[in-house]
């Protein structure tokens, strides 16, 4: 097969970006929707090619298509940086995720972003993001991976700050960039460490070295942990999770694509991509699992109490990403990526649903919604499907991947298993809390002074087709995507486990105790939410005041923002250390300079006053001078 087609997967969105950015936006901005069509077309092309690539990879030996490299730069003799692509099962799967979700989101955005003054800019960034994300999953060496890693970060920054005139958006964008960069610092350090010890950036070569044992011991551990630090930043894992909730300031389709389905999952992908390295370092792998487990429950706990629907989803995302990390740490690539795959669809769906709701009501605050089921049936239906899926209800996709993670955790990390179980309950609860608060009961009026969109006064209404159709497609995927691994095919494709019959797989969970427990936990979570938010059998306020300290703890996000922003950044660094440096610079370093200059001037004035105009003083100086020379010679000469 021509390799150019594989390149095209990446290049099509890039062309789209270039066309929109350099041609459409400056010159034909009046053409509404043009940018969207270009983007959809190009990403559609990428999707088609990705699907083709997926099948080609499935058919290929070792599930891998070799792609010849292009020489990009030669740093020195022997060290050549190639611009190369990987096309293996992991990449193929990721490509599907990226292109599908991206395509859905772009279609959806045609409705959502209609009339926004930044419409063209939006599509330009979106194309760039998609291209970068595709590049990220296809890159065959760490350097390029890092390049695209940063590029998606940039797009994330730009899109979070899309409505830059809102200070909160600008703040959030900055925060996202800096916090993820903190992780990138570790990533870069890890790359450097690997390069130092192996002299290569090539991912496959690194794999081989790790497998062969040439790369081992503390070096490997530290390198792996460094890389994982990058993943922590990007995937918003504890303790670098603070940026993701704020990132919800961006347009909702952006949240769906970048901050739910794809970019934030890049961390998970990275660990998967470098998995042989982690595999050979128990410490690193354990670290991944522990961080993942902690993040899962930690984020879920905050999701319980949020009133902003997107924030609930954001914490849910963090929590699910934690799951994926846990899956990677406890089970392996197939497990983690399997959840990533499924999560992408239902989480994108959830976000798009939230966007649809917002489109109708002008708000994200669930306390202002309610009763939307009536007005927005399609949105409601798809949202519930996604919620069931994420809660892990059989036979939706979420069930299958979550189940795998739980089984593997139980086997390898028992402590984390219990946390994960609690998280299952919490997930179900907060998701259905959101469902009931949003769609159940009576409409509570939406945003009092709607901004951003017009015409929300009066009754909310269902979103246009262009928005609901993607919802439906994603809902279908949320239901069906799980079935891929019911036969064990996905796992086998990723090099894990064996295949078996469809129906065997489908009902196999019911023969085990563990799925039962998780189903029960999820069910009870849904039930509790129903009781509290649909039927008001239990007053949320009562519960809230009962667990006041806990509630506050969750609601204030464990004071992490305060810790980071106020205590560390603002006070310790800006007002403390940095201010101290500034004072030091102004007074000590510069002070020394000015002091020397001033000293010269002052002594000049002083010496000048020896020149009194008294002739005889001058004569005296001649005498003293001669005597001085004589004495100096006498004593030193």
């Amino acid at each position: 097969m021509p390799h150019q087609f594989i390149w095209l997967i990446f290049l099509l969105p890039l062309f789209s970006f270039i066309i929109i950015g350099f041609f459409v936006r400056p010159f034909v901005r009046a053409e509404s929707k043009l940018a969207g069509y270009i983007t959809i077309l190009s990403i559609g092309g990428s999707l088609a090619l990705s699907v083709w690539a997926l099948f080609a990879v499935m058919a290929a030996p070792h599930h891998e298509i070799p792609v010849p490299d292009v020489t990009w730069a030669v740093i020195e003799d022997g060290v050549t940086i190639h611009l190369g692509l990987i096309m293996d099962s992991l990449t193929a799967v990721m490509l599907i995720v990226v292109t599908v979700v991206s395509l859905m989101v772009q279609i959806y955005s045609q409705g959502y972003m209609q009339g926004d003054p930044g419409y063209h800019r939006y599509y330009a960034w979106m194309s760039l993001f998609t291209a970068s994300m595709i590049g990220l999953v296809m890159a065959d060496n760490l350097l390029f991976l890092f390049v695209f890693w940063e590029m998606v970060g940039l797009c994330s920054y730009l899109l979070i700050g899309f409505w830059f005139h809102k200070p909160s958006a600008a703040d959030a964008a900055k925060k996202a960039f800096i916090v993820t960069r903190l992780g990138d610092f570790g990533f870069l350090a890890g790359i450097l460490l690997l390069y130092l010890n192996t002299g290569t950036f090539d991912i496959y070569e690194l794999h081989e070295l790790a497998i062969a044992g040439a790369l081992a011991g503390t070096t490997l551990t530290w390198a792996a942990i460094g890389i994982f630090a990058g993943a922590v930043g990007k995937s918003a894992q504890f303790p670098l999770h603070v940026w993701l909730p704020d990132a919800m300031e961006g347009p909702t389709p952006v949240s769906a694509l970048i901050h739910a389905a794809t970019m934030v999952a890049a961390g998970v992908f990275l660990v998967a991509r470098m998995f042989p390295l982690f595999e050979h370092s128990t410490e690193a792998l354990t670290t991944v699992a522990i961080i993942g487990g902690i993040t899962a429950i930690f984020a879920a706990s905050m999701g319980l109490v949020m009133n902003d629907i997107k924030r609930v989803l954001a914490y849910s995302t963090i929590s699910q990403l934690g799951y994926m990390m846990l899956g990677l740490g406890a089970g392996g690539v197939a497990i983690g990526i399997w959840h990533l795959f499924n999560h992408a669809f239902f989480k994108a769906l959830l976000f798009l649903g939230a966007g649809s709701v917002n489109h109708a009501t002008g708000t994200f605050d669930m306390r202002l919604m309610g009763g939307l089921r009536k007005y927005m049936p399609w949105t409601y239906l798809t949202f519930v499907i996604a919620s069931l899926s994420i809660s892990g209800i059989w036979p939706l996709s979420g069930f299958w991947s979550k189940d795998e993670i739980l089984i593997n955790t139980f086997a390898h990390q028992p402590v984390l298993f219990y946390l994960a179980m609690i998280t299952v309950f919490m997930t179900a609860f907060y998701m259905f809390r959101a469902v009931f608060m949003t769609f159940g009961g009576e409409y509570r009026g939406g945003e009092p002074s709607a901004h951003g969109h017009e015409g929300h006064h009066g009754q909310p209404h269902e979103s246009p087709r262009v928005m609901t159709i993607p919802l439906m497609i994603l809902a279908a995927l949320s239901i069906l995507s799980g079935l891929w691994n019911v036969t064990g095919h996905f796992g086998a494709f990723m090099g894990h486990g064996e295949t078996h019959g469809f129906f065997t797989g489908l009902f196999h969970p019911f023969t085990q105790p563990l799925p039962w427990i998780s189903l029960i936990l999820a069910g009870s979570g849904i039930l509790l939410a129903y009781a509290m938010y649909r039927k008001s059998w239990i007053s949320p306020e009562r519960i809230g005041s009962m667990f006041k300290p806990l509630y506050t703890l969750f609601y204030r996000k464990y004071w992490f923002d305060e810790l980071y922003e106020n205590i560390i950044v603002r006070n310790a660094l800006l007002k403390g250390l940095f201010a101290g440096f500034e004072q030091f610079d102004n007074h000590v370093v510069d002070g020394a300079v000015n002091g020397v200059a001033g000293g010269a001037i002052v002594s000049g004035r002083a010496i000048r006053h020896a020149q009194t105009g008294q002739l005889q003083l001058y004569g005296l100086f001649i005498g003293i001078g001669i005597l001085a020379i004589i004495f100096v010679i006498y004593f030193f000469g």
Binding site: W72, A73, V74, I75, E76, V79, L143, F146, V147, F148, W149, E150, M151, L154, Y157, G161, F164, H165, K166, P167, A169, A170, D171, A173, K174, F177, I178, R181, L182, D184, F185, L188, A189, L192, L193, Y195, L196, G199, L573, L574, L577, F578, A579, F581, E582, D585, V589, D590, A592, V593, A597
Partner: protein, 498 residues
């Protein structure tokens, strides 16, 4: 034997332009500006031709190309000796590029136009001279000539505490070059030659026999350290950058401070490899202090230009790190970082100047929400900012990455890995202040007082585009520069044995 004469033409055309502007032409602004543009554009075009003609084959490693040599001062054996190699060619191109753009950037100067352009052109000649000279005396002369134009440019067309800044710049620079002069004299005494190439090739055999090499190394280094600048010799920089007129800031940040790094590689490292190795740790530590301390102080700045100025201190720390990590890759990285920083900071200063010119405000606390009013400036500024914080696909990333990779894998300096990691951490802080600045100036709700602020006009768009294009070009395909740089670096690295 004089060579093709290309380099002489490039070198002296701006000076000829300066003389024309100052003494010959009528005092009409348009005539002067067009003359200045012409006399900077031709060198740019010529230097691009040289860039294309430059022999990139591996056999050319370490070769000086386009040499011109003629006896100049017989009694002290000084030659008029010009030439470029892989190290100086990119810097020459950069200087010609920025020199031309500086004229465009200065198009809106209306105060004492004749003098302004004369000084600006003279400045370009002197900077070009530094990069082109292969004779120590010529090198030093060119190094010194730059001071006077700078003094006038800051003093007359500057802003703020311009007089203080100008004299501070001069005294600081002269202070540094005072030591450098002593170093050059010692070098001349030790080797009996002023030929930079020859001294570099003959190595240290001669030097050590007469005079210990370490003092010479340090004398030279101090001169370059002031220019680069290296902590604690950096305090002239924020003042000078802040108070200089825009185009001068561009030149200052863009190429002037590169003279320091260039000199370090060309003289300190090439001529004293063992000494450089001996003291590399100290310099690497200073580099890291520069990176982190510079970044920390940058975070605290509230003046638009001052912030960028301080960021230069931080960025130049990477250059120092790359140089004294003494690895081949790190040296290539350092050279690329000089090139890249020249473009990026040049653009940043140009943009800051534009914002200040159009909005009449430079206090970051008072600026805000400009993105709506000046979208083009915003976009370009953002690109420059992102390049400055080392975003991939911009030249900043390629350069910093090479510095990091090269330093981290250098084998000549003990503990370099730790220092490099600390340096990498500087990238995070950089992101902090760049984004804070972008947010502060451009984001947030539009402010009323900036309604009607002019966006970039056609001329400004032209130079912005030129900047951005080169930044992206080097970022996406750095080999265009590194192929050349490595030809210059490889013999040096060979001497270091790294």
């Amino acid at each position: 034997m004089l060579g093709s004469g290309y380099l002489t033409t490039i070198l002296f055309l701006p000076a000829v332009g300066a003389v024309l502007v100052a003494f010959v032409l009528s005092n009409r602004d348009r005539v002067i500006k067009w003359t200045a543009a012409l006399f900077t554009f031709v060198p740019l075009a010529l230097s691009l031709i040289l860039f294309a003609l430059f022999d990139r084959s591996p056999e050319a490693a370490g070769l000086i190309q386009f040499q011109e040599r003629a006896l100049w001062i017989a009694p002290i054996n000084a030659y008029y000796h010009l030439g470029v190699d892989g190290l100086s060619l990119p810097l020459m191109v950069l200087t010609a590029f920025l020199g031309f753009l500086a004229v465009l950037i200065s198009w809106k100067i209306h105060l004492r136009v004749r003098e302004y352009f004369a000084w600006l052109l003279l400045l370009e000649t002197s900077i070009l001279g530094v990069f082109l000279s292969l004779d120590l005396l010529l090198f030093f002369i060119m190094w010194e000539i730059e001071v006077i134009p700078m003094y006038f440019l800051i003093n007359i067309w500057g802003a703020g505490r311009k007089e203080y800044s100008a004299i501070k710049y001069v005294v600081y620079t002269l202070f540094g070059s005072a030591f450098m002069l002593a170093g050059i004299l010692s070098l001349y005494f030790s080797t009996g030659s002023l030929n930079m190439v020859e001294i570099g090739q003959r190595g240290l055999g001669l030097v050590q026999s007469i005079m210990p090499a370490a003092p010479i190394f340090w004398l030279l280094l101090i001169g370059f350290a002031v220019k680069l600048p290296v902590f604690p010799f950096h305090t002239w920089l924020p003042d000078a950058h802040t108070d200089a007129p825009t185009a001068v800031s561009v030149m200052l940040a863009g190429v002037l401070i590169k003279m320091g790094g260039y000199g370090m590689i060309r003289l300190c490292v090439t001529m004293f490899p063992p000494v450089a190795q001996q003291y590399a740790v100290i310099l690497v530590i200073l580099a890291i202090i520069g990176v982190l301390y510079g970044a920390a102080v940058t975070m605290r700045q509230t003046d638009f230009k001052r912030l960028i100025a301080y960021s230069s201190i931080s960025h130049m720390g990477y250059v120092l790190l790359g140089i004294f990590a003494l690895g081949k890759v790190s040296l290539v990285g350092a050279a690329l970082q000089m090139f890249s920083h020249g473009l990026v900071t040049g653009l940043l200063f140009a943009m800051v100047g534009l914002v200040m010119h159009n909005a009449h405000e430079r206090d970051l606390r008072k600026l805000g929400g400009l993105a709506r009013q000046v979208p083009i400036i915003t976009v370009v500024f953002s690109i420059a900012g992102l390049a400055s914080l080392g975003l991939p696909s911009t030249s900043g990333f390629a350069a910093e990455f090479l510095v990091f990779v090269g330093s981290f894998s250098s084998s000549l300096v003990p503990g370099i890995q730790v220092y490099t990691i600390l340096g990498v951490f500087g990238v995070v802080v950089t992101a902090g202040y760049i984004l804070w600045m972008l947010q502060r100036v451009f984001y947030g709700p539009p402010l009323e007082q900036y309604d009607g602020t002019a966006d970039a006009d056609v001329l400004e768009r032209v130079y912005m585009f030129a900047f951005v294009a080169v930044i992206m070009l080097v970022g996406i395909y750095p080999a265009i520069i590194t192929d050349i740089i490595k030809l210059g670096i490889s013999p040096i690295a060979g001497m270091l044995g790294g």
